[in-house]
């Protein structure tokens, strides 16, 4: 029966005929019709479809990157389904586990250790719930407060309906579809994401978090996020969730674009903890995201802070383009690879304006068979007189089967620029562990303590509640890494 429906639908595609079909998921495969279908389903304005198609045509000419220090079987892009409509609550409930009893006990153990409340656990595990997870009132108060300040915070789909001119003006202006293979693919097929607009002079009254709109839009594997901070404004955005989320998509290729105008500041913090795969590394998420912020106006500032503990394979280089004079870019990162996880991550700092400054603090932790590379680019254009960069890149190894590699790329076209690079590799030493244990601290807690100490410079940059969760998370990720 299901096969018949599929056959029927694919045939219609072959004819290039688009109707509002009654299935939730478009059959696997990618072509212009699928893109038209996505755009049509979402009722997008004309410009969006045109842009998607241009992106797709360009993507066809691109090849998958293979320079990163990661290994995975080839991805069949025709074997992915590119659109899945938001399901009704009844449908969701029918497919979801009916109670926590049906959920993988290992997952629950993790939630327990992270101290996640029960109703929250249910939500994360995708348990069928009648009430919306969070009280409606919290969300409403939140929305009212933002509206009062004039801040727009909604899903990308909503933004395309309500504020198409803003989307048209800014989308692709920092990460063009020509940028790289995965950004190209995302531009063609993205389904949803977040949109933030902070008007001139406004300090956003609260930390914006995807948490608040998780129930509004099902964010898929090709998320697209756009944040615009007008002159003199400030916004802090938190992405992600500290608990491992159930996810049926293996490939994630998101794009995040940030635009900071004159004197504006955007702080973007991520705690990423997707499924890393089982102990043998099977079944984990591939995270190939493109994140870039442009400090477009003079004296503007973009800060990336990330804690990456999940995913089987991560390739991620949040970067800053410092266009405005006296603008600032910062990148603070903790990346952990354990079991068979692989991460190739780092940042790109491109200095364009005068007296631009960038700071990079990257902490990499590898345990068991984890493999990790830091790849950092600092590029100083001839126009960037007086530019300065400071990079500090530290690796910590736990055990002797893991690896850490550093690939710094420095391109300086302005002779007066100052570029500093410091790198170190350390091990959690037996002496340190013994010292802690002699004081009564268990081996596991000792590893946790030492690793958290190593990451302190980065955790300090995270919003308070996030920092606490990140520490707990690190503990869970490294569990069993020693002894």
């Amino acid at each position: 029966m299901a096969a018949n429906v599929e056959e029927f639908v694919t045939q219609r595609y072959k004819q290039g005929f688009i109707t509002d079909i009654e299935t939730d998921t478009v059959p696997p495969g990618l072509n212009e019709d699928v893109i038209r279908l996505i755009s049509h389903k979402k009722g997008e304005p004309e410009f969006m479809l045109d842009w998607r198609l241009k992106a797709y045509r360009h993507w066809l000419t691109m090849t998958e990157p293979n320079w990163a220090h990661v290994h995975y079987p080839p991805i069949d892009f025709q074997d992915i389904s590119y659109y899945s409509a938001p399901k009704s609550r009844e449908q969701q409930n029918a497919e979801a586990p009916q109670s926590l009893d049906e959920v993988d006990p290992k997952l629950l153990e993790t939630y327990e250790k992270l101290g996640i409340p029960l109703h929250e656990q249910e939500k994360l595990a995708g348990v069928a719930v009648d009430a919306v997870f969070d009280s409606v009132s919290v969300t409403t108060t939140f929305k009212d407060k933002l509206a009062e300040a004039g801040v727009i915070f909604c899903s990308m789909s909503e933004a395309l309906q309500e504020h198409p001119e803003l989307v048209e003006q800014y989308i692709g202006s920092v990460v063009p579809y020509t940028d790289n293979f995965y950004a190209g693919l995302n531009s063609a097929v993205f389904t949803d994401g977040s949109f933030v607009y902070v008007p001139e002079g406004v300090t956003c009254p609260m930390e914006l978090s995807t948490y608040f709109r998780i129930n509004e839009a099902k964010t898929g594997q090709f998320e697209r996020t756009l944040i615009i901070a007008e002159k003199g404004s400030y916004v802090s955005y938190l992405e992600g969730c500290t608990a491992p989320q159930r996810d049926e998509n293996q490939l994630h290729a998101a794009v995040v674009e940030l635009i900071a105008h004159e004197d504006a500041t955007i702080k973007y913090s991520t705690v990423q903890n997707w499924y890393p795969g089982d102990e043998e590394g099977k079944g984990g998420i591939y995270n190939f995201v493109t994140k870039r912020g442009e400090a477009r106006g003079d004296r503007s500032k973009v800060t990336w802070t990330q804690v990456e503990t999940g995913s089987a394979i991560t390739m991620k280089y949040p970067g800053c383009v410092l266009t405005g004079n006296d603008s600032v870019g910062e990148f603070y990162s903790v990346a952990v690879t354990s079991n068979y996880q692989q991460a190739d991550t780092g940042t790109k700092m491109v200095h364009v304006g005068r007296n631009t400054r960038s700071t990079v603090v990257a902490k990499g932790i590898s345990a068991m068979q984890g493999e990790q590379s830091y790849r950092g680019l600092v590029k100083i254009l001839p126009s960037a007189t007086g530019a300065r960069n400071y990079t500090q890149c530290d690796s910590m190894l736990i055990g002797d089967q893991c690896g850490a590699h550093t690939f710094p790329y420095i391109e300086v076209k302005e002779p007066g620029a100052v570029v500093e690079h410091e790198a170190s590799t350390s091990k959690v030493s037996d002496e340190q562990l013994f010292y802690c244990r002699q004081r009564g601290i268990s081996e596991e807690d000792a590893v946790n303590l030492i690793v958290n100490g190593f990451c302190k410079d980065v955790f300090r940059e995270l919003p308070m509640e996030f920092a606490v969760e990140a520490q707990a998370l690190l503990g869970v990720t490294l569990e069993g890494a020693v002894g």
């Binding site: 030493s429 340190q432 010292y435 802690c436 244990r437 002699q438 601290i441 990451c455």
Partner: protein
Amino acid sequence: MTEPMLKITNLHAKAEDAEILRGLNLEVNAGEVHAIMGPNGSGKSTLAHILAGRDDYEVTEGSVTYKGQDLLEMEPEERAHEGVFLAFQYPVEIPGVNNIYLLKSAVNAKRKHQGLGEIDSVDFLTDVKQKMKLMGMDESFLKRSVNEGFSGGEKKRNEVFQMMVLEPGLCVMDETDSGLDIDALKIVAQGVEQMRSPDRAIVLVTHYQRLLDHIQPDRVHVLARGQVLKSGDKQLAHELEEHGYDWIRYEEAESA
């Protein structure tokens, strides 16, 4: 007579096939302070580490009991929970970890073992500040990373400070006096004297008589070639200072 707090019987231990301890016997009663002296490489630190549970050493023969329990069977953290404390000869640096954070974790780990809840933050801080003062340490040391950038003497004081906060039953102090200036030596000695208590035993490893001018040991032992070759009262330390270790070796040869 009651059982000694620490009882070491015929202890043999090796590291990487080299035999270091060769039939060591030692008994320390609660309430006593014992000094262990001996030439470099004689096995003093090895003994201290074995008492604390370091697994670089393999015990091939003999036994160690602490309060009647078989110490060698216990994990290092269990020994700490039961009250064994080692002031290290070379305290390790732990970058990024606050001194006070480590100490509080240690106190709470012990309390958990005792079935108590976490210590009240205010009580803890009051206690800690008072003890730092006794050790002549500035409060800024609380926020600094464990031993990172501490001078040699500061590291040693920090060990004694931790010992005072953790209030152990058995204090093993490995050359805590080395590297201390004259004033610091006095402060450390006062700290140790203050720790002297009827339900606590203190074992001091030292090379110098000068510490023993400030701390009156109940017994002095000379460790050489992996054995306690001679034991006596504090007079023994004076004799060693005068005659050196050769004197013992000579005596030993005489009696053989």
